[in-house]
């Protein structure tokens, strides 16, 4: 029986989400921009989904921009704000070396467009240092972009402290909360953030939908031009079924957040208990206290990442080397590199990520399988 432990890469669509979407593929297929009643009904569905997202973040519906996913939302936040801020003489961006590629690659792109980018280092737990950030900010800093929780090792960043520092200095703050949404409480009225990225397919919603929360008075230069959709901030016919599904997924994720945390935490504990009991050599990568419970990054020194992955896959267990977006490349993860971990740790790291439907028993079974493989392949004599 297959065990899927790669929920940080993507998640199965929740049956209720799928149910919610189906009518908008068939009976209610219209274009929300059409002026006839048929279009207006569809517009209301998009508005309902926007309300669901807004409630999930405690935002106003007008502050939600639907996009095609997390990558587009990150691109829009960074490029959109950077270009708007450049006109005001601000041409410096601060981010971290452990961000998702959607942010890092966008920063490289902005460098090519003449922006200066500071890539903050992270410590061995994956966190940035506030005093380093404080030194990096200047009057020309347009935007700070630091992820909420890391997608490879689960480390939470000191978001509140970063936000407070940003507010103090009058700098806009974007956080990629793709992994944190549905896991951490995200309240934009209470948290000092100006832009937040969320993605549907990471919370049991459909692929092809995401959103950017944008605070009032945050200047934004749109990246998709054309029709007047999304209050002229993102052109293109709305992906209605995708948006409806995303809205439902957000509602479910926020409503079930506590149970979901407990369930993934139980998986995590079950997994680690098995490892501990086995006596094999392993290390847990990330922060010992401040982490997303569903992401567990473990190294089995002596067993190459790819070898472990392939063997786990043969045993029917799906896990990952690093972020799915780069795992095709077989390079050592930039996150682990930035954490400056020893080479035998970075070369043997595996990400297990828990989610809907996973049980403690499944996690324990996966751990036992990993132990067997480690014993068989690398750590002989243990």
């Amino acid at each position: 029986m297959a065990i899927y432990l790669d929920h940080a890469a993507t998640t199965p669509v929740h049956p209720e989400v799928r149910e919610a979407m189906l009518p908008y593929l068939d009976q209610y297929f219209g274009n929300p921009s059409s002026i006839h009643r048929y279009g207006r009904e569809i517009r209301q569905a998009v508005d309902r989904a926007r309300d669901q997202l807004a409630r999930g973040l405690n935002a106003d519906p007008s502050q939600i921009i639907f996009t095609s996913g997390g990558t587009e939302a990150d691109n829009l936040a960074l490029i959109g704000v950077a270009l708007a801020q450049k006109e005001r003489g601000r041409d410096h961006i601060i981010t971290s070396a452990a961000e998702h590629h959607a942010v890092l690659d966008t920063c490289h792109y902005l460098e090519r467009m003449g922006f200066r980018v500071t890539y903050l280092p992270v410590d061995a737990t994956g966190q940035i240092q506030l005093d380093v950030l404080r030194e990096a900010v200047s009057d020309r800093t347009a935007l700070i972009s630091i992820m909420y929780g890391n997608n490879e090792v689960g480390t939470l960043q000191p978001i509140r402290a970063i936000g407070e520092l940003a507010r103090e200095r009058g700098i806009l703050f974007h956080t990629d909360a793709v992994q944190a949404f549905g896991m951490e409480q995200l309240d934009v009225k209470e948290l000092p953030v100006d832009l937040v990225t969320v993605s549907s397919h990471k919370i049991n919603g459909p692929k092809g939908a995401g959103a950017l929360y944008i605070g009032r008075e945050v200047p934004l230069f749109p990246q998709m031009h054309g029709g007047q959709q999304e209050r002229r901030r993102r052109a293109g016919t709305e992906n209605v079924p995708g948006i409806v599904g995303f809205g439902k997924a957000a509602e479910l994720a926020v409503a079930n957040r506590k149970e979901h945390r407990e369930q993934t935490m139980a998986c995590r504990h079950a997994f680690l208990e098995e490892l501990e009991a086995s006596g094999i050599r392993y290390t847990v990568n990330g922060h010992p206290e401040h982490f997303l419970p569903h992401i567990l990054n473990v190294s089995f020194p002596g067993v190459e990442t790819e070898v472990m992955l392939m063997n786990m896959d043969l045993e029917g267990i799906a896990c990952a080397s690093g972020s799915a977006c780069t795992s095709g490349t077989l390079e050592v993860s930039h996150v682990l590199k930035a954490m400056q971990l020893p080479e035998d740790v970075t070369r043997s790291a595996i990400r297990f990520s828990f989610g809907l439907g996973n049980t403690g028993e499944q996690a324990a079974e996966a751990a036992r399988t990993a132990v067997q493989i480690a014993r068989r392949l690398g750590q002989k004599g243990i």
Partner: protein, 388 residues
Amino acid sequence: MMVYLDNSATTRPDPEVIRVLSDVMENIYGNPSSLHGLGGKAERLVKQAREAVAKTLGVSPKGIVFTSGGTESNNAAIKGAAFQYQNRGRHLITTEVEHASVYEVCRQLQELGWKVTFLPVDVQGRVRPEDVEKALTSETVLVSVMHVNNEVGTVQPVQAIGSLLQAYPKVLFHVDAVQSFGKIPLRPKEWGIDLLSLSGHKFHGPKGVGCLYIREGLQLMPLLVGGGQEEGYRSGTQNVPGIAAFAKAALLAAEKGKQHAPRLYQWKMEMLQKLQSKLSGMMVNGDLSREGCAPHILSLAFPGLKSEVIVHALEEEGVFVSSKSACSSKGEKPSRVLKAMGLSDEEAVGAIRISMGLDTTQSDVEACTDALLRVIPQLQQVMKVHGS
């Protein structure tokens, strides 16, 4: 009963398309970039979809990049080419009748310092190939001309433009084919097209998916970065169910279109004959010749009436049409396209668009004809009373 004749705004997904989308969503949820078996399954599905779409266009699968829709494809093509080749020059050529997602991108580039020539069109809405050639300069990097106009259905001479541009190998040719795919023949490779945009929900596919055909070997500055999916042309986790459903829709449209398109043209002409014989004060916009128009779009204008009023009156009769392009239908201003064709403000604000799909039946068209025959004289009568 509902008669849906607003297929240029969006179409009803084909039942088979819904089945594919729903099945894939339920069963193949892996991330195509993941190394494990589930990821592999998703990756293979995207590969098959790419091959299927490529086949319908007669191009290599390597040239197909999946996007979130027609707007993204147009943005990616035009900005991507403009930014990538700005060292060659900063001049673009397009027309006055493009869809907003081309027109607004060009205006944006204008603000950023590019020079853009917006070519005029004739009374039928057609650009002249010789005007394209005349507008070319040593600075021109891109020509963008739509295949079928979304408001009036006029077919642009993209084949002729593509062939004249063969003499200018450094000038790229982009075609927005969002309205033409599945309705009239489309051969990007034979026609010298370098970049071509398609949108799934315009041919009974899902919303949220489109594709950009990119001639092999052509570099573009990507619109979305981070992750390197789609060979680096378009980052972001692929919308696997959407992509599979898009491919299904493309195959179905390519097949059905061949049989259905001639019928649509016939029904359009029959409808027109009836309306012309019984209504006064009606104008027909765009070309109506078999070769010169897309079979599924009919644009009519009733000077003195407001298009919104006609749309709502038809709605009362269960018939759904549109005032102009859905993407700009909220604007109060008369259509830019109709104005470019020489219509007066009064004529342009009285225009409606009737657009058929591959699921439209003859009785749909007849019901629309009957509804117009009832509604228009009534509205004209009201206007007369109020006007006198």
